[in-house]
């Protein structure tokens, strides 16, 4: 549960508090007994996140929540994350339904302190659901108000205050209006041409703006109505002597490849004995486990011990330590290449991972991958072993820290320590990494861990 973020419930905004007081005016309540309805905000799960998508609500309206309990799964620009509660109470009203997108810092649900306040909170959610900008606007005020309290009041509020500050900095100014989509002129044009719904595209431009390449990336996954499935994609309909322009996907690949030249990469190789892994594979193959899933799992477990190899360098000035281990696996598809992502490969068990992999591959073939299913990878695997390739090296995809090229596992004659000659299955792996964040020793240590895991794969099946 390392990925469960310690953010979530922020103190209720002054506006809400004020409103609730005025609502109970005339009853001459003492100040202490004011209604406690808190807003649950969309947290900033990463520094680049400007909005989040609600993957699922783990609680329904009316459910009781205890402190630290997970309530909602939010999908950020990188991964899905559980968001847990800082307070006890009742989930009174859900303001953003599953599948909905909310800007960072906007209210997504209301939390009532007592059961009696649920109805009141529900009424508020209706009135304030169309006043999202107001909530966002008042955020800075809230920070100002809360800050001086810290030394005096201490304790409870201090944590949310700190969070509020980081939230404030990550708020996209464009999102002040609520659910506006900010896309550059060319991105809009492309979206229209490629029939991509901008609402589903995650922006990677300045301040989260959607730029052309985001639309192109999305278009690769979205099945374009105009391109009917080709019955025989294998037949190479290549006419010699012609120049064939890139497809959108190939264009995107081309751009990414050129972009990769601006990253200082280096490579470290390792030979790993796979007899134990092969034996394990043979044993659980019948349960639908694939070699790709096994390799991804092994890699993910090794990455847990070497977080730096799972990091990346976004701005040339800092390490971005990714909170989840998402293994992207390169897949050749008709006329191109895509990298479906096995999210949280370190946490998901091998059987689920294998099923997930099959599903992703099917979707990739049908060009139905969603953006988060192919652009959230933190580490990439490229396996050409099935073609008998014994070693190769890979180009580092921009935005990630490392990629591992996996060759075929082949029987080799090996001299062992005790002076004997034996036959062992060995595969060569070769990691390409961004030397701004990942150094030689990091890769060496990582590969050593990986070799250990592969050579003694009992952890792979839990």
């Amino acid at each position: 549960m390392a990925n469960v973020l310690q953010t979530s419930f922020l103190p209720s905004t002054s506006s809400l508090r004020r409103r609730s007081i005025s609502g109970s005016k005339g009853k001459s309540q003492s100040l202490q007994v004011k209604a406690k309805i808190r807003e649950i905000f969309m947290p900033a799960l990463s520094s680049t996140m400007t909005e989040g998508k609600i993957v699922s609500w783990m609680k329904s309206e009316g459910d009781k929540l205890s402190k630290g309990e997970s309530v909602v799964v939010v999908e950020s620009d990188k991964a899905d994350m559980d968001v847990e509660s800082f307070h006890e109470g009742f989930l009174a009203a859900i303001m953003v339904e599953e599948g909905g997108v909310a800007p960072v810092g906007s209210a997504i649900a209301l939390l009532a302190e007592t059961e009696d306040e649920i109805a009141e909170a529900k009424a508020k959610s209706q009135s304030s659901s169309n006043s999202t900008p107001q909530v966002v606007e008042e955020k800075p005020k809230q920070i100002e108000e809360a800050a001086p309290d810290v030394p005096a009041a201490a304790a409870a509020p201090s944590v949310p205050v700190a969070k509020a500050v980081t939230l404030g900095s990550a708020v996209h100014p464009a999102s002040e209006g609520g659910k506006r989509i900010v896309a550059s002129p060319y991105a809009k044009k492309l979206a229209k041409e490629l029939k991509v719904d901008l609402g589903t595209v995650v922006g990677s431009g300045p301040l989260g703006r959607i730029v052309a390449k985001d639309v192109e990336a999305a278009a690769v996954a979205v099945p374009v109505a105009a391109s009917p499935a080709k019955p025989d994609p294998v037949a190479p309909g290549i006419e010699l002597g012609t120049v064939v322009p890139f497809t959108t996907m190939q264009g995107a690949v081309s751009r990414n490849m050129v972009e990769s030249l601006s990253v200082p990469t280096f490579r470290v190789g390792y030979t790993i004995t796979t007899n134990a892994l092969d034996a394990l594979y043979k044993k659980i193959k019948s349960k639908g486990v694939t070699m790709t899933a096994l390799l991804a799992k092994a890699t993910a477990l090794a990455l847990v011990q070497h977080p730096v190899v799972n990091s990346c360098c976004r701005d040339g000035n800092s390490f971005t330590y990714n909170s989840s281990i998402n293994i992207a696996v390169a897949v050749a598809i008709d006329g191109g290449l895509i990298t479906p992502v096995l999210q949280d490969a370190d946490k998901v068990d091998i059987y689920t991972l294998s099923r997930k992999w099959k599903e992703l591959v099917d979707k990739a073939r049908a060009k139905q991958l969603q953006p988060h299913e192919y652009n959230t990878g933190t580490f990439t695997l490229s396996n050409l072993g099935m073609f008998g390739v014994d070693r190769f090296d890979a180009i580092l995809p921009p935005g990630t820290g490392a990629i591992m090229a996996v060759g075929a596992s082949q029987p080799s004659v090996v001299a062992s320590m005790d002076g004997r000659i034996g036959m062992k299955n060995q595969m060569q792996v070769n990691v390409t990494a961004d030397h701004r964040v990942i150094y030689g020793a990091d890769l060496a240590a990582f590969l050593q861990t990986l070799a250990k895991i592969v050579e003694d794969p009992k952890d792979l099946t839990f």
Binding site: S169, P173, G177, S184, P185, Y186, K189, P206, R209, V243
Partner: protein, 571 residues
């Protein structure tokens, strides 16, 4: 001597597009509508903001003894004069006037408070042409389709921003020194300082911190030009919210720039920025883009210059508030509906270029000393550029040319007006025909025009009861254009079938700006279609587009029986 002058003036007289978005033209004269870039809103300004210039407001300065002494004799003009002609402002207009004055034997001085060359040479058409030359080449090199059709192979084209900026700056310096040298060589006195009229036929000039000098002249021409007009609510910081003055320095190439105003200036900059890799959003107050152009040309231009490029637009909206980028926030532009005035949208972009036209630069000229009040900053003049005072009387010996009078805000129009004034003061009456002055927009491809647009011609025809004919030819049929693989383009002729008079010509296509002169000369000289159609054009050239245009016009037989038209018609 003459050849020097010729060479030097040739370049600066090239089109001065930057003044073409005059806000004032629209109401003053219907014929000028086509130059009016933008919004009626622009007419609302009262105090003009002067973003840059060497001019200081003299009203705020203590008068020197010398000035007050001279003020005593304000009522009576001096008996002997220092000069025959003094021109205030050494832009293209002042320069053209000075050169012609020397040719006519006048002792001439020119007063300049900033740098010789004015807006056109330093902050307008000249540096912008350098940027556009670069953008044209980039565009060509980046167009794989175009290159492939020619059988060329070019690897990825790139550019160095500073190198491009230097090219523009170097060009401006070069033209500036050409201009300065040509005047010096002819014996024009260049007086440095800010010129102010202190009385009839009397001007003082001086720099801040130096004593003022008083000079007298038989005739005085005001040619102080204009500055970019910035509507209120827009905060220009020179970095992320900029005017053409800043944009021409090309200090940055933003990823996404909003251009407020889709007239000449906006259109040319969209060409530059998109060629250099920016994406552009146009903000236009009127309901359609490029409102000043002939509708048919505008439609084609939009299809070629806007739609296929990385440009989108908002029409029918005003930018009421533009806040420069700061504290990690982008440039924020608030849009309201132009008609309902209701908030319409908010844009967040990396930069905004304000291209809403230009405002006359006439503050501190001392016009009050000769009882003249400006109208929205413009100096009122008659058709002979003679300045009109508050009582509607002509101010003797005082003329105003160029952007400062707002008749037609183009560099070459200013120059033509200056020459016209010199003709008058040297004893030959002359009235300039503004309908014969061509205008051009140096996009890729270019747009050019002279005379009336089709709607203007039809309106005039209805009033005066004549028929209007329209002829069109396409660049697609032109050998030279096809050889260049640049067949996209249209030439349009608007004429009177009854007598063969050319009312207007509009060209969109390769080198349109150079092609227009055959038409503008014909209008200026009063040449009719039935005569010009027999003129021979070299083959194969782009000028054959016009040849074909004239030949395709259907002039009625009755007109043909008349001999060649005798007198040039001045309007």
């Amino acid at each position: 001597m003459h050849s020097i002058c010729f060479q030097a003036t040739g370049v600066p007289r090239s089109n001065y597009i930057f003044d073409s978005c005059s806000p004032a033209l629209a109401i003053s004269k219907p014929i000028n509508l086509r130059f009016c870039g933008l919004r009626k809103e622009a007419f609302g300004f009262s105090g003009l903001t002067h973003s840059s210039s060497g001019r200081v407001r003299f009203s705020s300065r203590g008068h020197s003894k010398k000035v007050s002494a001279s003020a005593e004799s304000n009522g009576s003009p001096p008996k002997s004069f220092d000069y025959d002609l003094i021109i205030i402002g050494a832009g293209v207009g002042g320069h053209g006037a000075a050169l012609h004055a020397v040719e006519k034997g006048l002792k001439t001085a020119i007063i300049e408070g900033d740098v010789v060359g004015g807006t056109c040479v330093n902050r307008g058409c000249v540096p912008s042409k350098a940027l556009l030359a670069v953008s044209g080449k980039m565009r060509e090199l980046q167009s794989e389709h175009h290159m492939k059709a020619l059988g060329l192979q070019v690897s990825a084209a790139g550019y160095d921003r500073q190198g491009v900026a230097d090219h523009a700056n170097n060009l401006a310096s070069k033209i500036r020194s050409n201009l300065t040298n040509s005047m010096k060589a002819l014996g024009v006195d260049i007086l440095t300082g800010v010129g102010t009229i202190v009385g009839p036929q009397k001007v003082k000039y001086g720099k801040v911190g130096f004593p003022d000098n008083i000079v007298t002249a038989k005739n005085i021409i005001i040619a102080t030009g204009s500055v970019p007009f910035v509507p209120k609510g827009i905060e220009v910081d020179g970095k992320t919210v900029i005017t053409s003055d800043h944009a021409l320095k090309l200090e940055s190439v933003p990823d996404w720039i909003a251009i407020v105003g889709s007239g000449y200036i906006g259109l040319e900059f969209s060409d530059v920025y998109t060629a250099l890799g920016s994406e552009v959003t146009f903000i236009e107050a009127l309901d359609q883009l490029m409102p000043g152009f002939d509708p048919e040309i505008g439609k084609l231009a939009q299809r070629v210059l806007i739609n296929p490029r990385k440009i989108d637009y908002h029409t029918g909206v005003f930018a009421t508030k533009i806040t420069p980028a700061k504290d990690g926030k982008p440039v924020i532009i608030e849009l309201i509906d132009a008609k309902t005035k209701e908030p319409k949208d908010t844009l967040e972009v990396d930069a905004a270029l304000i291209a809403t036209g230009r405002a006359p630069f006439t503050n501190g000229l001392g016009l009050e000393n000769v009882n003249v009040v400006t109208q929205r900053g413009f100096v009122p003049v008659d058709e002979r550029m003679r300045v009109i005072d508050t009582n509607g009387n002509l101010v003797p010996h005082l003329y105003c040319i160029g952007d400062a009078n707002g008749k037609m805000m183009l560099a070459h129009a200013a120059s033509a007006q200056g020459i016209s004034v010199v003709e008058q003061v040297t004893g030959r009456d002359h009235v300039l025909n503004h309908l014969s002055i061509p205008a051009a927009c140096f996009t890729h491809p270019e747009i050019s025009m002279v005379g009336l647009t089709e709607p203007q011609a039809r309106e005039k025809a209805q009033k005066e009861g004549f028929e209007v004919g329209v002829a069109k030819t396409s660049f697609k049929a032109n050998t030279k254009a096809l050889a260049e693989n640049e067949g996209e383009g249209l030439a349009k002729l608007i004429y009177r079938p009854d007598n063969g008079e050319i009312l207007g010509v509009h060209i969109f296509g390769l080198h349109a700006a150079d092609l227009i002169h055959e038409a503008s000369n014909a209008i200026a000289l009063g040449t009719r279609i039935q005569d010009i159609k027999f003129a021979v054009h070299a083959h194969p050239t782009l000028s054959e587009v016009l040849d074909e245009l004239f030949k395709s016009a259907k002039v009625k037989a009755a007109a043909l029986s008349h001999g060649p038209v005798s007198e040039p018609v001045a309007v």
